[in-house]
């Protein structure tokens, strides 16, 4: 496991107290904490070379442009993309998926075409396609999952047909933690002439992966779940697809020549980056990538497997705890969804907050998934490089405080 004592010192937030107690942060699937290097990168930009990019002739504008484009290169390399022009900055994963739906989708999806999703999608990979289907008359299909939270691949094989134009799936479920067989799904999609989009919001931060090995056509992910700042994310897509796609938002930066009635568009990736982008946050994202590379993605994955295994083991000992999702920590990300007896997850979280333990509760933006499990919501603990076995111990022992209030079998 990672030597967390020194590593945690890199994260200023862990030096504060909440309700007089040290912070136990178990909500990195919602957003990760930020190391000093990332906070410093923001500060350096605003203090040292704050300028708009791609336009200025002067020195600090050139420094800003280089830092911004350098960051793009690091992020592209992080996902194994040699051509950094295929990495488009967006606000977040949600915007990246919407970009595809509004441009590629609008151009290529016709009435009766099918888009295949899964029953475990985050709302960010459901709603853009519902909106597209409403505009175009496309049909949405959803691959079901079993009691352990694994996709039914037989169903996938029969659902992905010649009518399928796009398969859009989450790589790692934000609730169940399931790591889906996206490579297999990519092969099924490509065999039918369809494209595949992978929602990498949870997988990119936690697993070393490359777009080649995933064999995907689109990959969407966010900075803030991987030690970077909020407000910036990315869409990666294959060059020929991006080139054929119409622009998304119109404005400055994304154009080549403009007359009053006509415009030609800029080269990739700027064709999709209208207006002044989120320069500071994109630059700081590069520092987050450096930090992750320095620790090493295989090390991070191993750390989370061990922590998840420990959490599942400890929580399984509690007879009133119900766990959701795969129980094999190698088949899932560092996410443990659970309920304590009949106690509503909000009540669990409220009591844990008094112990300075941060967990996420509710439907986790996955209402269809919750309906399928026939529950209102779950509590969820999620891990990252700074979490320790002690965090898990605190979580498990604090459940007793919930029982003290709500009774051993809950409400």
């Amino acid at each position: 496991m990672i030597e967390t004592t020194t590593l945690r010192a890199d994260f200023p937030i862990f030096s504060r107290l909440v309700h007089g107690k040290p912070l136990v942060y178990l909500d990195s699937a919602a957003t990760s904490q930020k190391p000093k290097a990332v906070i410093q990168a923001l500060d350096d930009y605003y203090r040292g070379y704050n300028a708009n990019i791609h336009r200025g002739i002067y020195t600090i504008a050139e420094e800003a442009t280089q830092a911004y484009e350098g960051s793009r290169q690091k992020i592209a390399q992080f996902i194994g993309a040699d051509d950094s022009a295929t990495l488009v900055f967006t606000r977040n994963t949600t915007e990246a998926i919407n970009l595809v739906a509004y441009t590629w989708g609008q151009q290529n999806i016709k009435a009766g075409d099918e888009i295949v999703l899964t029953e475990m999608e985050h709302h960010s990979n459901l709603i853009p396609w519902i909106l597209l289907a409403e505009r175009t008359g496309a049909v949405l299909k959803h691959i079901p999952f079993d009691a352990e939270g694994q996709l039914d691949m037989d169903a996938a094989r029969s659902m992905i047909t010649d009518r399928t134009r796009l398969v859009s799936v989450v790589h790692m479920s934000n609730v169940l933690g399931t790591i889906n067989p996206v490579k297999e799904l990519a092969a099924l999609a490509h065999a039918r002439g369809a494209l595949i989009l992978i929602d990498g919001a949870q997988s990119v931060p936690h697993m070393g992966l490359t777009v080649d090995e995933l064999d995907c056509d689109f990959l969407a992910f966010s900075a803030h779940k991987m030690l970077g700042p909020t407000g910036v994310g990315a869409l990666w897509a294959r060059r020929e697809i991006l080139e054929a796609m119409p622009p998304f938002l119109g404005g400055g930066e994304m154009i080549a020549q403009v007359s009053l009635t006509h415009a030609t568009y800029n080269d990739l990736p700027w064709k999709f980056e209208a207006g002044t982008p989120n320069i500071a946050d994109a630059i700081a994202w590069g520092s987050a990538i450096d930090y992750l590379n320095n620790v090493g993605m295989p090390t991070i994955r191993q750390h989370e497997i061990e922590l998840t295994e420990y959490a599942i083991e400890r929580l399984s000992e509690e007879t009133d705890v119900t766990l959701y999702g795969p129980h094999d920590s190698r088949k899932k990300g560092g996410v443990v969804a659970f309920n304590l007896g009949d106690v509503h997850s909000h009540d669990v979280a409220e009591v844990l907050d008094a112990e300075a333990i941060c967990i996420r509760v509710g439907h986790h933006c996955c209402q269809p998934l919750m309906r399928k499990l026939d529950i209102a919501g779950t509590a969820r603990a999620s891990f990252y490089i700074y979490n320790t076995r002690d965090d898990v111990d605190q979580l498990v022992s604090s459940l007793q405080k919930v029982r003290d209030i709500f009774g051993s079998n809950g409400g």
Binding site: H344, S345, E350, D353, G362, H363, A376, G377, I405, F406
Partner: protein, 142 residues
């Protein structure tokens, strides 16, 4: 501090709700969902002579929303629709402002402590707002 939220009277209404049941022939009915947490509530009331003859609820939700719904049903039973609407107004003002609302809210005063947990205020208020809308619809249709 968390004990302020989960006061005895709140837990009692949550764990042994008297009004969590169906009504056979409700005259008015309203449902709501909290999109933030997915909680659902349906409130029912039977009306006789412009008064709430009986009130009940069905819900999937947290302790605060359920306790609030249970207390509400107790509080409004026997009251006229106008008095009920006035109670709804007073309760939501108590929860959403610092305004003093008078001494006669009974058990409901316990819910005032929820104000210190701002994200839970919505849980407490949801049954009341839902009932208020149901009464408005009932009156518009009656």
């Amino acid at each position: 501090m968390v004990k302020d939220l989960y006061r005895e009277v709140i837990l009692q209404h949550y764990q042994e709700p008297r009004n969590r049941r169906m009504l056979d022939h409700p005259d008015l009915e309203g449902s709501a969902q909290n999109p933030l947490c997915g909680d659902e509530i349906t409130v029912f009331a039977s009306v006789a002579d412009d008064h709430i003859a009986d009130a009940a609820f069905q819900a999937r939700g947290c302790s605060i929303s359920q306790a609030s719904a249970d207390m509400m049903a107790d509080a409004i039973r026997g009251k006229s629709l106008d008095e009920t609407l006035a109670d709804i107004g007073r309760f939501t003002r108590m929860m959403e402002t610092d305004e003093s609302v008078g001494p006669d809210l009974g058990d409901l005063e316990a819910l005032a402590s929820v104000k210190r947990f701002p994200i839970r205020v919505k849980c407490a208020v949801m049954p009341w707002v839902t009932l208020g809308e149901a009464i408005s619809r009932y009156r518009a249709g009656a």
